[in-house]
Structure formats: structure tokens, C-alpha cells
Amino acid sequence: MTLQAIKTEPAMALPAPSAAVVALPPTPKRRSASRWLGMLRHAAVRVVPPLIVVVLLLVIWELTCRGAGSTLPPPSRVLSDTRDLIVDPFYDHGGIDKGLFWHIYASLKRVALGYSLAAVAGIALGTLVGQSIWAMRGLDPIFQVLRTIPPLAWLPLSLAAFRDGEPSAIFVIFITSIWPIIINTAVGIRNIPQDYRNVAAVVQLNPLEFFWKVMLPSAAPYIFTGLRIGIGLSWLAIIAAEMLIGGVGIGFFIWDAWNSSHISEIILALVYVGIVGFVLDRLIAGLGKLVTHGVSAS
């Protein structure tokens, strides 16, 4: 498609010589216009197909849920039921009667805290396990067992320990997202090429300098893989945890909607949860790309 656009250019520019002074200036304009067209086309190629699929799915959904006996509302009813929520996500009537923005904001705050703690602790523990053969022998089997425990199984225990919903939810996020971070960091550290270690040894970097200047950059691609899996898991866990601990948060919003039979609100909340999860994933992926720019291109 781009080729075509370039090919037509000389043909268009050809008449120019006959009226050189007047005809020349428009050429760059045309070029920038065709470049815009190319970018537009590029965007359309990515946006149009999923858009068509979404419309198609909505139509099928509408048709199947339209009947009188249907248990779920069709998209048209979801839209009309939740108009208030969509139009004003920022209202706050006190208690848990808040707009969706505040619910998502509360959930994100918990995730941010739990996930940041997991990232710091996970990278530190991963470095230890990756660097020391004895730490690996001692800790790795324990990690392998602990990481299979489902997030919600930790909740009663953390409620017992913290006696409060808020720190318990944060702990669940922490304990859910830490394992992939630990394991991927450890693999990344173990895979640091011997050459880099030799260079560090000849230059005589001390352990701290070695950690910052060699270990972290070298293991960064692995670490970011772990961080990306971790953020996905913590977003999964927060919804479930909030359903149980209550209060403000998108998880409890869904549970509350179910208890009051507002099925349309559940559907709207799910759309938001999906979009936020997607954005979080892209955020970490983008950050990883930025940070590991030099390493992956070796």
C-alpha cells in the first residue's frame, strides 16, 4: 500500500516543470499528506478488525439476550441501565456509594502498594537465589510449593494476622505477585554471561557496584517478564480479595451489584476491569522496553 503511494508521486510531480515556480511548493505538502494517509492506514489496519469483531459479538449478544426469558441483559439494556455510572464516574455520596472511578482508584491503590512491595522484595530475593547456590538449594523448593497456593487461600490467614481488611488485601497482592518476580529474577541472574562477570572481576567492582552496573541491567529482560506476569496476577487477585473484604473497590462493587441484582452494573464493571488490566500490562511492558532497550539489542 505504501509502495503505491510512493509510485504515484512522480506522476503527480511530473507536470511541475511546465510551470516550475508555481508548481514546486505544493510537492512537500502532498508528500506530508500521503504520509498522513499512510499513518492513518496503518492505524486503521490495527483498529478496524477488532472493532468489527466487537460489533459482531455485540450483535450476537443482543440477539440472544433479547428474549423475555433471558437471564442476562442485552447490551442495549446494559447501556441504558448504567448510563448514570458511565456519565458520571466521579460522584461520591459517601460510604461505598461512589462513582466507578473511585472504586477503581481504591483498587489500584492497593495493587500499587502490594505490587511495589512485591517488586522490591521479589527482585532482592530473586537476586539472592540466583547468585548463591546455597540460597537456591534452601529456598527454591519452598518457593515452588508456596507459589502454587491460590491467592485467596492466603486471605483468611492474613485477616487473622492483621485483623483488618486493608492490609490483608495488600498482603494478598504481595504474596500473589512475588513468585513470578522472584523466579524470573533468579533465572535472569543465573544467566548473566560469564564474560560480564569476568569483566567485573578484572575491573574489581564491589558487590554493590556489580549489582547496579552488571546484574540488574543484564537480568532486566527477565525481571520485566516477571514483573509483567506479577502485575497481571495482582490485578486478578485484588478483585477476588475485595469481594471478600468489602469496602470501596471495584471487586466489592461487583459483589455488591450481584447482591442487589444489578447485572448491568456487573457487566460495566467487568469492561472497566478488563481495560484497566490491559493498561497495567501495557504499562509494565512499555517500561520494560524502555529500560532494556540496550540489552535486548545486543
Binding site: P193, D195, V199, A201, V202, V203, Q204, K213, G294, V295
Partner: protein, 264 residues
């Protein structure tokens, strides 16, 4: 007179489970200051192990390395290594790669500005100052090796260790880089220990060629003096009888008396 660098009855055995392999045995070598010494041998004869022992990256099982009469058994910038595959850190620019060593070695003795000048000076020595802000992935193999050499030189090592530094390069780039190393040696008069498996390279560059027997239990088979004056010119040497004789001696050693068994 005490030699500058002394390899004193170095032996190295690797133990894996119940199997013990003796790689090096009774390796003795005296190197004077400013000497360019090459170690040549078939692959697997333990010459890289020997270099790693001198660098301190591997510990000798018996014997030791003496540098200016002091034993050295851990790595340090006084024995800077130019690695075979350049080993530049890919996330640092060319400048930062050289700076890493400079900042560490001259942390106390040079000011920040002096360290910058010294880094640039060494990049200039290998004609790589123009690419100082490029990352290793953006420059060619020969250029990477130049930066590797600059990094090693910038540490002002007492002994420069070259581990098959031109092995991964194409013939033209290799010749070009060999000339550069020759010029640097002429200018700075470093003490250089180089591992190679290229006969021409060894004769062209070195004052002495140390020929290793095949492993296991590799020893020094023969040491050949190359009585050619510096600076040397590869074109003139091509017909120089001394050069040809030296070359002949090394070839005889490698291909007649110590044929590589597995390759035969």
C-alpha cells in the same frame, strides 16, 4: 635479574566427580618488562586456562604467578584482559564501557575531569572517539574489539592479556587491528601476553613465541625468539628470511611434532 612476570611451575587439574583431568603441568615462563609474548597451541591445549590463571580468573592448582615479585591470584586491573568476544556491556555506550574501568582504577588518583580526559585519550588511541556515544550493538566487530582494547589499556595495566583478540574477526579487519596493536605496543611499550592459534599473527607481533604441547597435561614445548626489529611491516616481512624461518619453526612444531590428534 628478577623477571617482571613469572609463571612458576603452574599446574591445573579439573575435577568433575571422580574424574580428574590434568590440563596444565609445570608451566614456567619468565617475561621481561615490555615484552610481547605469544602463546600458541592447538585448541584444547589449555592456553586459555593459562591466561585465565594469569588474569586471576581461575586459580592454579599448583604453582603461581608472580608479578613484580608479588604473587597474584585474584583478578585485578593490573592484569587487564582483552576478551576474545570483546565482552562489552551492551547497555553501556562505548564511552561508558571504557569509563567503567577508569572510574574504578583512578577513583582516588584522578579528578572527574582527568578521568574523562583519560577515557577520551584511550578511545583516541584506538581511533574510536568518534563512536563514543554508540552502543556496542551499533558498531562492527572490529570496532568492538578496539573498544575492548581501549578499556584494557585505560586501566594502565602492568601486563596486558590478550585472549585470541582477533579470533572472531574477518581477515582484513584482523590485519588492520594487528597493525593497530603493533603500533600501540611500539608507542606505549606495554608488557603483553597474547593467546593465539594463528601462526602468522604470532610471528608478526611477538618477541617470543611460546609453543604448547597438546593436552592433557600440556606443557611448554618450545620457546622461540623472533629476532625481528620493531616496527615490523607485514608486506616487507612476507619475503624476510628470518620471518620465514620463524614461521617454519612454529609450523613444524605444531604440525609435525605435536599434531592435533583429534584433527588428524
Amino acid at each position: 635479574m628478577q623477571p617482571y612476570l613469572k609463571l612458576d611451575y603452574i599446574g591445573k587439574t579439573f575435577t568433575r566427580g571422580a574424574v580428574t583431568t590434568e590440563v596444565l603441568k609445570d608451566v614456567c615462563l619468565d617475561i621481561a618488562r615490555g615484552d610481547y609474548v605469544s602463546i600458541i597451541g592447538h585448541s584444547g591445549c589449555g592456553k586459555s586456562t593459562l591466561l585465565n590463571i594469569v588474569a586471576g580468573l581461575t586459580r592454579a592448582t599448583v604453582g603461581g604467578v608472580l608479578l613484580e615479585n608479588r604473587e597474584v591470584n585474584s583478578p585485578g586491573p593490573d592484569r587487564a584482559v582483552v576478551f576474545q568476544n570483546h565482552s562489552l556491556l551492551p547497555w553501556l555506550t562505548v564511552y561508558q564501557n571504557v569509563q567503567l574501568g577508569v572510574d574504578k582504577v583512578f577513583a582516588k588518583t584522578k579528578s572527574r575531569a582527568e578521568r574523562h580526559d583519560w577515557t577520551m585519550h584511550n578511545l583516541n588511541l584506538v581511533q574510536m572517539a568518534h563512536a563514543k556515544d554508540k552502543r556496542p550493538s551499533e558498531i562492527s566487530g572490529g570496532m568492538k574489539q578496539r573498544v575492548g582494547i581501549a578499556r584494557a589499556l585505560a586501566m594502565e595495566p602492568k601486563v596486558l592479556l590478550l585472549d585470541e583478540p582477533f579470533g572472531a574477526l574477518d581477515a582484513l579487519t584482523r590485519a588492520h587491528l594487528q597493525d593497530s596493536v603493533m603500533a600501540l605496543h611500539q608507542k606505549l611499550n606495554n608488557t603483553i601476553l597474547m593467546i593465539t592459534h594463528d601462526v602468522d599473527e604470532a610471528v608478526l607481533l611477538s618477541d617470543r613465541i611460546v609453543m604448547m604441547t597438546n593436552g592433557p597435561s600440556a606443557r611448554i614445548g618450545e620457546v622461540l625468539e623472533v629476532p625481528l626489529p620493531h616496527p615490523r611491516n607485514r608486506l616487507e616481512l612476507a619475503s624476510n628470511p628470518t620471518y620465514l624461518k620463524c614461521r617454519q619453526r612454529v609450523l613444524e612444531f605444531l604440525y609435525e611434532r605435536h599434531r592435533f590428534v583429534e584433527a588428524a
